[in-house]
């Protein structure tokens, strides 16, 4: 009891955490993860051939206090067609990123109506960070009406007691590190999510 379930005793200084990344299809979840893992965004070759979804990636994130968090990042598809299969991937998540595209108001609506309730229901109590993707699209243009406003993201995160709201651009790279640093920190705070949930 009390020890982290994902690691064995010999590696005391590094902890493992499972992060689920969800959100509608085509909002850019896979690009976000790729940018974080490789620090590159290539619209053409060779990375664009890697299909989206259902991949588990790993990276060790070092926190400010020197603690190392081994992140297992679950890239979970957005399509509704295989909803029940996708759902089977959620349990035992230590934290989640719920994503939408700031150029896609529908995807924000889906966050509100589907992804947040779904995550909270299946993984109650885990830290969730709301992520607005494709920030660069708003920076590029003046016709702001078509885009989700930053304040909307913040208020949605607040009203659902999420960890917070971060905007980022996988294309340019800004905000990407913040997203994973934040979620790693929040995930590390919680000792053993799933045990707490299971013992309820």
């Amino acid at each position: 009891m009390g020890s982290c379930c994902c690691k064995s005793k010999e590696v005391e200084e590094e902890i493992s955490r499972k992060i689920s990344v969800v959100g509608n299809g085509e909002v850019g979840k896979t690009c976000l993860i790729k940018r974080y893992l490789t620090d590159e965004f290539d619209e053409d070759t060779p990375h664009s051939y890697i299909p989206s979804a259902l991949q588990v990636d790993e990276k060790v994130e070092e926190l400010k206090n020197g603690k190392k968090v081994h992140l297992f990042i679950y890239d979970l598809g957005g399509r509704d067609t295989f909803k029940h299969l996708t759902r089977m991937n959620y349990p035992r998540s230590d934290a989640a990123l719920i994503c939408f595209g700031i150029d896609d108001k529908e995807s924000l609506k889906a966050v509100k109506e589907y992804w947040i309730p779904e995550m909270i229901r299946i993984c109650p109590g885990i830290p969730i960070l709301l992520v607005g993707l494709k920030k660069d699209k708003r920076d590029e243009t003046r016709t702001i009406e078509n885009f989700v406003r930053e304040s909307d993201g913040h208020s949605l995160a607040k009203s659902n007691n999420l960890v917070g709201y971060v905007e980022c651009s996988s294309l340019k790279g800004d905000g990407v590190k913040t997203v994973f640093a934040t979620i790693a920190r929040e995930a590390a705070k919680r000792q053993n999510t799933q045990k707490a949930a299971e013992s309820v």
């Binding site: 379930c5 994902c6 064995s8 070759t45 060779p46 051939y49 890697i50 299909p51 989206s52 979804a53 259902l54 991949q55 588990v56 297992f72 598809g77 399509r79 509704d80 067609t81 295989f82 909803k83 029940h84 299969l85 996708t86 759902r87 089977m88 991937n89 349990p91 035992r92 229901r121 299946i122 045990k195 949930a197 299971e198 309820v200």
Partner: protein, 498 residues
């Protein structure tokens, strides 16, 4: 002509005389299906395969050279006793019957005609086949759009560039095929960690008393999945590295085999329940002994991830093949298979949560529709109140169940308690209820029963979907019966239409 009629009549006679020997028919039907996929025969598995009806996807096969349908397989099985030449005409009859049924039930599902697809159509998870089709069609639409853009570029470029373009796309395709193979290798390794790791350990070491007998549920048919990928699929995909045109045909050829995933997914919720019980105790102990980094649930989820992933990889392979202007016929078929199989797995997971149904759920044919509807039962005792019911429509039965959402349930999915059912072959439909545009009625025609179910849909569209689907399976049954009772008349009617 008269000879053909005589054969048909003989076939009908055969049908009646063998009707009381269903096991025999089953065996033949199974073999016919295997032959048609050209899959080599494999040693008998102790794990039961789903029934033939559940695993066929007729809408996809453009030609019926060898039919695998239950109906035609039954008819064809009678003919295995007859000389070859005679056999053909009756197989033709069977194929025609099948085509009629197909036309009636699936009006526009030719995957090559994706223009007929209406993207504004609402996506709901209760339309089993349609949704998989849409998934498929969306891909095609997407590709067409991209292709058009591509063509604009081409207009002002020279022929040399076209060649270079083609080479570029083929190179990109090669990346995806490499990815397909590499991830397959990893996948087989992960499955081996279960089969040679956990399963071997648990076989060779005594289980804790309270675990006794539960190990089968934990692993389901993963051994079967491992064997096939390890012995067959990995080698097939390796050949694709040097022969990329093979990719599509592999998935088409092994369609039937891939249905083992439906079974795996159906068992998965039960497996998860047991695993979670022993995760921090027994399974943690085994994990440490095996020296694994991943925990058991991380491994057991791999087949679920894999079966969804093929479709994504195939989409990309198809995309680049199209851009390189090479033949995509087999790839389109393959993609279709890899959308239909995970969709079936997805839907059967819900059925896996149905409790209290006495019959064999896998013997009820394909799951056609499921939804939460309002249902009221009417009998001589009067009419009951409308209650919310989860309704499952299979090819052979409609099941009404009560949804129980349990907060304690860690896996957050509702359980369905069986309440009532009507057999399709003893059911009639009335599609209107006066003054109630959203309602329709099903009447139980079983002798001695006076039960009627009044069903209220969520919208007019929703009602339309249900009524249409129910009518089509009732019609199909009628057709099947007529064809069996008087095959000559039936065949004449068919040729008249053609």
């Amino acid at each position: 002509d008269s000879a053909a009629a005589a054969v048909a009549a003989a076939a009908a006679k055969e049908t009646t005389s063998t009707a009381d020997q269903p096991p025999q028919i089953c065996v033949v039907a199974q073999k016919a299906a295997l032959d048609s996929t050209n899959e080599e025969e494999e040693p008998a598995q102790d794990i039961e395969m789903p029934p033939p009806m559940a695993i066929q996807d007729h809408s996809f096969k453009p030609e019926k050279e060898v039919s695998t349908d239950d109906v035609s397989a039954k008819l064809a099985s009678q003919l295995s006793l007859k000389p070859q030449a005679e056999a053909n005409s009756t197989i033709d009859l069977a194929n025609q019957i099948e085509n009629v049924v197909k036309h009636q039930t699936e009006p526009c599902q030719d995957p090559s005609q994706d223009t007929s697809h209406d993207p504004s159509q609402d996506l709901t998870d209760n339309q089993v086949a349609t949704t998989a089709d849409q998934e498929f069609n969306q891909t095609n639409e997407h590709n067409t759009k991209e292709e058009e853009e591509e063509e604009d570029d081409k207009a002002d470029s020279e022929e040399k560039d076209i060649e270079a373009e083609k080479a570029k796309y083929l190179k990109k395709r090669q990346f995806v095929i490499q990815e397909l193979y590499d991830t397959e290798k990893d996948y087989v390794k992960d499955l081996a960690s279960i089969v040679d790791g956990y399963m071997a350990y648990m076989r060779d070491n005594p289980l804790p008393d309270e675990m006794e007998g539960k190990d089968k549920i934990v692993f389901g048919n993963i051994h079967q999945i491992y064997d096939w990928h390890n012995e067959t699929m990995l080698a097939e995909l390796e050949k694709c590295l040097t022969n990329p045109n093979r990719v599509g045909s592999i998935f088409v050829r092994y369609e039937r085999r891939l249905y083992m995933y439906v079974k795996y997914c159906e068992n998965k919720p039960k497996s998860e329940f047991i695993v979670s019980e022993y995760l921090d105790t027994y399974f943690e102990e085994v994990r440490q002994k095996l020296g694994h980094r991943l925990m058991l649930p991380d491994l057991l989820i791999k087949p679920v991830q894999r079966i969804m992933r093929y479709q994504l990889l195939l989409k990309d392979i198809l995309k680049y093949t199209e851009k390189a202007e090479e033949d995509t016929t087999e790839l389109k078929k393959a993609l279709r298979v890899m959308c239909v199989v995970p969709k079936a797995a997805n839907d059967m997971m819900q059925v896996g949560r149905l409790q209290g149904f006495d019959g064999k759920i896998t013997a009820q044919g394909k799951l056609l529709l499921q939804d939460t509807l309002l249902v009221s039962e009417v009998s001589s005792g009067g009419q009951q109140k409308f209650k919310e019911r989860r309704v499952f429509l299979f090819e052979q039965i409609i099941i009404f169940s009560e949804m129980i959402e349990s907060k304690k349930d860690n896996f957050s999915n509702p359980t369905y308690i069986y309440k009532n059912s009507l057999k399709v072959n003893k059911m009639s439909l009335c599609d209107t209820v006066e003054g109630e545009p959203l309602r329709f009625q099903l009447t139980d025609r079983t002798p001695g029963s006076d039960v009627r179910m009044i069903i209220q849909a969520n919208s007019e569209e929703n009602k339309e979907t249900w009524v249409k689907q129910i009518r089509s399976i009732l019609d199909m049954q009628g057709d099947f019966l007529r064809a069996l009772q008087s095959p000559i008349a039936y065949q004449k009617e068919l040729t008249k239409e053609l």
